[in-house]
Symmetry: D2
Subunit: 288 residues, 4 copies
Amino acid sequence: MTTLSTTAAANPATGTEALLAAVRTGTRVYDLGRRLTIGMPQSPNHPPFWHALPRRHGDAVRADGGSAANDIITMGTHVGTHIDAFSHVSHDGRLLDGTDATTAGRGGRFTDLGAHTIAPMLRRGVLLDVPTALGTPDGCAPGYEITAEDLSTTADQQATPVQPGDVVLIRSGWGRLFGHEDRTRYVGHTTGVPGVGEAGATWLADQGIHAAGADTIAFERLRPGAGHSALPAHRVLLVDRGVYIIETMALEELAADGVHEFLFVLSPLAIFGATGSPVRPLAVVVDE
Amino acid sequence: MTTLSTTAAANPATGTEALLAAVRTGTRVYDLGRRLTIGMPQSPNHPPFWHALPRRHGDAVRADGGSAANDIITMGTHVGTHIDAFSHVSHDGRLLDGTDATTAGRGGRFTDLGAHTIAPMLRRGVLLDVPTALGTPDGCAPGYEITAEDLSTTADQQATPVQPGDVVLIRSGWGRLFGHEDRTRYVGHTTGVPGVGEAGATWLADQGIHAAGADTIAFERLRPGAGHSALPAHRVLLVDRGVYIIETMALEELAADGVHEFLFVLSPLAIFGATGSPVRPLAVVVDE
Amino acid sequence: MTTLSTTAAANPATGTEALLAAVRTGTRVYDLGRRLTIGMPQSPNHPPFWHALPRRHGDAVRADGGSAANDIITMGTHVGTHIDAFSHVSHDGRLLDGTDATTAGRGGRFTDLGAHTIAPMLRRGVLLDVPTALGTPDGCAPGYEITAEDLSTTADQQATPVQPGDVVLIRSGWGRLFGHEDRTRYVGHTTGVPGVGEAGATWLADQGIHAAGADTIAFERLRPGAGHSALPAHRVLLVDRGVYIIETMALEELAADGVHEFLFVLSPLAIFGATGSPVRPLAVVVDE
Amino acid sequence: MTTLSTTAAANPATGTEALLAAVRTGTRVYDLGRRLTIGMPQSPNHPPFWHALPRRHGDAVRADGGSAANDIITMGTHVGTHIDAFSHVSHDGRLLDGTDATTAGRGGRFTDLGAHTIAPMLRRGVLLDVPTALGTPDGCAPGYEITAEDLSTTADQQATPVQPGDVVLIRSGWGRLFGHEDRTRYVGHTTGVPGVGEAGATWLADQGIHAAGADTIAFERLRPGAGHSALPAHRVLLVDRGVYIIETMALEELAADGVHEFLFVLSPLAIFGATGSPVRPLAVVVDE
């Protein structure tokens, strides 16, 4: 900041003013969240998203001519674009903080590692556009395991080194199937789904990143026919290393524009004790 | 980081780099959202927030020792901290865009003015700490109507003029009752609730602001015993002038720290066709 | 009843006593409802059944050693075994009672024809085991339209004439697919589903029956690939003639035991203003 | 009908025919269930009932002029008129069958003692109209503990001895408050609620009854201000003795008509693994 203020014009903006100036001028905001719609693809392990209007306009009009419509929604927290809290996954009965996972969930809420403990994120974000770096820009093959080398190669080619504290978003290209009329395609049980495996997750954690996201439903690579029977990358990130996971992201637009570095913004709902939260993450860039 | 700062010294950061530099140095993020908990105060007009864990750790452990817990939530979109979409309120049968409100809601979703059409916000935010400016820092009296003059006086005293495109958050002090053990206190049906009325809303709209928020359940002033029988500020902002409303905000910490100007961040869930969305808005400041 | 009491043994039971005597001696109760389980087959048009335990035993133990577990459920009313209220279907904008269907549903509930207006049923029930009568006891072919003649032939062969006020349950044999591991089989979008068409429904209504049930998800015949695009039997029964429809019934056991006449018992939840209710209907027979 | 009565004269109806004859002639059916409406009184411990119409008539009209409306409901299973499964309550960590209560609920469902294991009931029902027998027909005082002697006195006065296998419904008169505009009155936290205590519950169990019901929200007596902090009758009936409990029943009409003995009909939803089910129980009498 000091640098910036020193060099900035006649009347240099500092602090919050500089921040406001930055967002005021030529900011582009990429929406990395999927629309929540009835029937969107999701894992059958979770309560689906559903929505209705209990009241519509005209149902009850007040004396002054006013009327209000409202909603009811019911859903899991791991449907649509969402972030996993550290309470979501345990290994050998333990959570990230070493506590007994069953005890931690007593009462139907995770007091210490629930979704309400996920701090809002304003961090450097890096898109690793793996398929483009690998020469198959349309996307990785179904069930392809993105390797640690793929990740580092991509970062190098893009000249966007991954830094501690970053949020790293891994494009596999699979997001193109989100809107497919056959909703099972995106879930990919039969075909498998591309993504990192244990090695890729370890590499990500080794960079000291804060969170990792992907354009698939389970973040990590799923073998054809295997479903969610083994999720080693979840273990590495959520249980062993303390890296948040964001799933079902919309990354195609970012990739199409070649935006590989940005301000990543995510503000999860503070659902007390939950294992995750639906989110609408943003990538913000400023045109110079 | 090293690279960036080195570069910055010689060649001032611009564009996205400047933005990243700004958030990297001394950023303070204020959480303006309330925790979503079962039993929190809310209007009886809306489906209450409820949460449960369908699966807990230990329910089903995979061969490799992994286990996942998950959630079900059910709620209205006007409970907890939330934003009203323009589809929420109509007047004389019309929505903001002049369309017939009943027709617009056909199919159980508002295609044109639903929550999914609320663009994420990264904007200048201004807190108008009205009770402090009026010399009653603990809060306005129940049922007090915050006037246009109160608003402009507060902006003047704080030296934070309201500008077009801003998000203006109006503190009444009522937020102190959110955690009261008698949950009816915050709802305030008997006592009334302080807030702007028609005149205050008109003043806000006249400044050209983008959104207005408050620390109360209905944003605007409620007369004792009157409940939601008349909501003129909603009409002015949502139907007549196109200004979003954010309700049930947590503004006490911001006020206590004297933070009156900030980067306001809000990214509503893109709930297709809904009349609002739960949100967790943020106020971001950079210490110099 | 007079007849019965006159002829009954030495100390003839009369009135309620006779009824109690009847149920006390050798009563067999057939459960015609499907279990409500997460993931059971259903139409995608309706919110699926979901269930969780917000509180489990051990979550909060009272001083005296007591503990209570409880539930949350979310579902449509047309999933699992259920009955359609007359508010469910309209034709050319009119409901059974001739009222405007849109007006009737204003406020989000049907005051006059909602599920709460379905009187509990204790009536003569007749099972028409169509495939057995047609010589294909395992079931009708997918997409087969059960004709009026099929119905009357079956009633004749079984010597169970259909009488005014009866509840008639039509077995197609399709219920055998309810538990199929491929949950799309029972829904039958691709294959079509057997059932009555317009002519069969008209025949049923002409007999003056009170309600009709079937072992399929939509009661009536669905053409392969057509889904719910046309439901003429629903129109005939619900809109034109005032005959309730019960769907997704379990009829295999009744058929296997050759029980074609019984006391039919159904007590829908009085969900105010709803278009249907989940039910667990019963067939009661007394062994002599 | 003609056939049947003709036959009966010569050859008295037996078995199912007699049952059908009984229900055909002069049957009166009392609805013992409360309507499910948004905002009805209930314990705050349970997810409230909520209902909306995702689709209304006119939302999507098919080519042939047909249109269907449908519902979404969300609720606990211990709201409105409902039955407790034996999985609902444990004592010192044990359920009725002696199993460990926590283990039994693993997986989020009670396989052995869940609501799906409650057999439908067609049994002799007895209404014990306690306040009428005690000379205060409008109802017992708030917080009054109905004693074992009260129960036996009532049965004697009514000449309706309680028999093994019966379902016994205990009227306290408190049901008159169900529709009170102040919804906290029926819940009765401040005032207490009348009902049996441990001794009354033991007397009921000693008679060998199958189920017990009441016109209050918690079946048993609640002390003023004590809420659900101690529920000894629940322990006696659900954990120690295996007697089902039915709550929030509508018993006023039965009492007003002086109907003390009837066929009791109850068919709970077979919600797999749940701790209870909403029900609409019936009392059936035959006029001679």
